[in-house]
Symmetry: C2
Amino acid sequence: MITNTPPPPYYAVIFTSITKEQDPGYSEMGEWMEKLVVSQPGYLGHESARSGLGITVSYWESLTAIKHWKDNIDHQTAQQLGRRKWYETYKIRIAKVEREYGWPI
Amino acid sequence: MITNTPPPPYYAVIFTSITKEQDPGYSEMGEWMEKLVVSQPGYLGHESARSGLGITVSYWESLTAIKHWKDNIDHQTAQQLGRRKWYETYKIRIAKVEREYGWPI
């Protein structure tokens, strides 16, 4: 689903990744993180796709909200496992959304 | 491939879309646009994935560069065809990348 974000400005975290061979723990952890993230203060939604490259863009009210999520203890565990087991490489970009428009609305 | 972007600040265009039924013209147009975009002034790279939802994030030196690409006459044609034939819905967000970090580097 395309996220119904509020009028800008707000923040986007663009997470681009290449994973190693599939590991059942990876999708389990993904499901857990999906459940956890929606309850975070300042979380606005996220969009995700994977075909070779994986791209997840999450949307946030503020940089503080992003920092809190990054520092969440369970999320920290997921990040460490990710680096040790699941990701070949990744890049994270933190960006301030200045304009948005959609179609048909 | 994950794009090797320069140190921030630079701009990201986050294009999230849901397409209608597959149409051979869509991937042809996509290939043409991929060729065209790399020669645009201020273009830094792009990342793309589709699994249900499609996400393409392109990176640019400036808002002016983004505007030029939006107004490119061939790209305009692609946009019109996209709305008429290929997209169920899409959203475009223009964002200023303030921080980036990667792993393992």
